[in-house]
């Protein structure tokens, strides 16, 4: 059964329609790719999936429940982990602090948050020295890793990632993709948004998002 599904989603920014009648299903244990050209509305779709934007029409179901009926803060902080295209880290905090903050917001109960956070950061390729550096002083690639570590920190069932490999060289890209693979294999639902066919090829399933224009469908 689908853990997350979009049913006939329509969305527009004021007068400019972006999404028209989008219906996707996402299941646990699988890695999905939403592929589309720049400006197709991938990020917009991701905002809707993460509950930050409300669709004009259509519904989003989480585990068979309409997310309208779920507390949006709980949904954002516990059920889904989002890796934003622009990372959205607190830049005056260190990498470690960003990860721990997410755990705190999620109400994540574990004694050794710091240890787990460091472990996570290490798994995405940041050593302790880098983990204790302020985000402002990390490179784009490093920031992306922090964002990934943060999304994974509270064991959300669904991982959403907006161009997660955009700033990475192919070697690290493969490392990161391996992490997502492992997550999917462990039973999580991983949804990647990308313009890269290379990434799409590594996924179990892909949905193609086509830029909305008059009377285009599917």
């Amino acid at each position: 059964m689908a853990v997350l599904s979009l049913n006939n989603i329509c969305f527009s920014y004021k007068d400019t329609p972006v999404l028209n009648d989008v219906s996707y299903d996402f299941e646990r244990g699988k890695m999905y790719c939403i592929i589309g050209k720049s400006g197709a509305g991938k990020t917009t779709l991701l905002s809707i999936l993460s509950g930050l934007a409300k669709p004009k029409s259509g519904s989003i179901m989480y585990d068979g429940r309409n997310i309208k009926k779920i507390d949006k803060y709980k949904f954002r902080s516990k059920y889904i982990g989002v890796i934003f295209q622009s990372f959205n880290l607190i830049t005056k905090f260190t990498a470690l602090e960003n990860v721990i903050l997410s755990m705190n917001i999620a109400g994540y109960r574990q004694q050794k948050k710091r240890d787990k956070a460091l472990e996570l950061l290490k798994s995405v390729g940041l050593d302790e020295n880098e983990a204790n550096r302020r985000v402002l002083k990390l490179s784009g690639g490093q920031q992306q890793r922090v964002a990934i570590a943060r999304a994974l920190s509270y064991d959300a069932e669904i991982i959403l990632a907006d161009e997660p490999t955009g700033n990475l060289d192919s070697e690290t890209q493969n490392e990161i993709m391996a992490i997502f693979r492992a997550l999917a294999d462990s039973g999580k639902c991983v949804i990647l948004v990308s313009h890269s066919p290379e990434v799409a090829a590594m996924c179990d399933e892909k949905y193609e998002l086509i830029k909305y224009s008059k009377k285009t469908k599917k």
Binding site: L52, Y73, S77, I90, F93, I105
Partner: protein, 548 residues
Amino acid sequence: MYIIKNAFKCIGRSRGRNILIGVIVFVIAVSACIGLSIRQAAESAKSDTLEGLTVTATISFDRQKAMNDIIQNAENDNSSENSGRPSFDRDKFSDFMGESSSLTLDEYKKYAEAKSVKDFYYSISTSFNGNDDFLPVSNDSSSDDEDTSSETESNRGPGGFFQPPEDIRNQMMGAQSDFTVVGYSSEEAMTSFIDGTATIVDGSVFTEGTSDAECIISQELANYNSIAVDDTITLENPNNEDESYEFTVVGIYTDSSSNESSFSIMGATSTDPANSIYTSYAALHTILDASGENSETVTDDTTGREFSTEIKSTLSATYVLSDVDSYNKFTEEVRELGLDESYNVTSSDISSYESSLVPLETLSKLAGYFLIVVLLIGAVILIVLNIFNIRERKYEIGVLTAMGMKKFKVALQFLTEIFVVTIVAVIVGVGVGGVSSVPVTNALLENQVAAESNQFNKIEENFGRPGNMIPNGNMVPNDMPQAQNGRPGNFFDENEVTDYINEIDEAMNLTVVFQMLGIAVLLTIVSGAVSMLFIMRYDPLRILANRD
């Protein structure tokens, strides 16, 4: 709680901004602290002075009101004449004063029944002349003349202040005379002997309540006339040379206040404390009764007014009240007991207490305004700073809410940050304010006292008498025989330069600390409310999208 940890982290990470806010709050805190301390000092000075203040009150005729009433009536009567300035009807006034100005002893006693009255005593004050063997102490050689009831004295007191016309004065207190003889109802009434201003140096005080003509006289007077204890003195009715009375001197006293030469400028010999003769009320009353029986009515050659040769006397009664509350109760009770509106209850203790507080209270009032201004300006600055702060941290708010942090928690974090910075600045401010509040208050107070005294001196310069404010604003001329303080021999006590409270030793106390805490919370709420408003309004998607 991670929100608090976050708040502290955020304070540390934006030191510059927080130091700026801190400095502003610090300045507000120091100013507010000094302002509050001044108010507190005024408050404590008030209650400290009030404690242990036994209030004595007197009932006096409101002359100002009577005059106004007469003027009012004259205006109404003369409205057709349109003479511009209403003319003052002196005849009417003197009738008025003569008939109704003083209460009778029975009336005084009636008001003494009021529950609030702790003790009650009275005295009667009269004027007598001496004779060749017994002369008043005087600096003025002309008054050596036994008949000093000077027709030549003008109606102008020293410095030109208006005094009632001669005939009114005569009617009220007898002609200008040599001695003031005061009869006391009880020993309590002899306040100057109780408070230590006067002491018996030879003999003893007359027997309390005696109707024998026993008296005590001042040492100056005794020396001047070579009188010793057990000698007899003869006093004459100033209105009738043929009427005289004998007193036995049973004691001689010194009055420290009589050494002050300033009294002699007042002209009237009888008002010199050295020329005060004290006896018991009963003894004096017996004499007055006798004088009343002997009296005849004569017509004054110059004014044509008729008056009795009876010895004029002024009765004054003093009510002792245990505290200011009782005093306030007393002022109401006397009305219930039927005291006419044209009489006022006054208390020199309270008026001197009040005037001693004037500079401090003025300062306190100014401090209050200052406090309001400082807080208002401070609040505006903090609000503006917080708006900038919030706008700058929009993105942070967006991230936190996108991460699923509830908006009220974000707001709470921001509020905590503001509160911590504010409270630290306030604590430092209270410390600095506490240390500086006493010297600052005293310096300000010194200025205020100087300003007040200056005004006092101006009054003296312009009106020829010390400015003596009675609580209701009536100016009481110095030579009114109504003893405001139950010490008829010593009308001048009140006019001594007011002993202003001109120093405080402790301004800060727990109340001020709590008030400052309140101010800290208030400032946090005021500036925090703006943050809240912005945080609640922000949509994370829009903030995050705008950044791309």
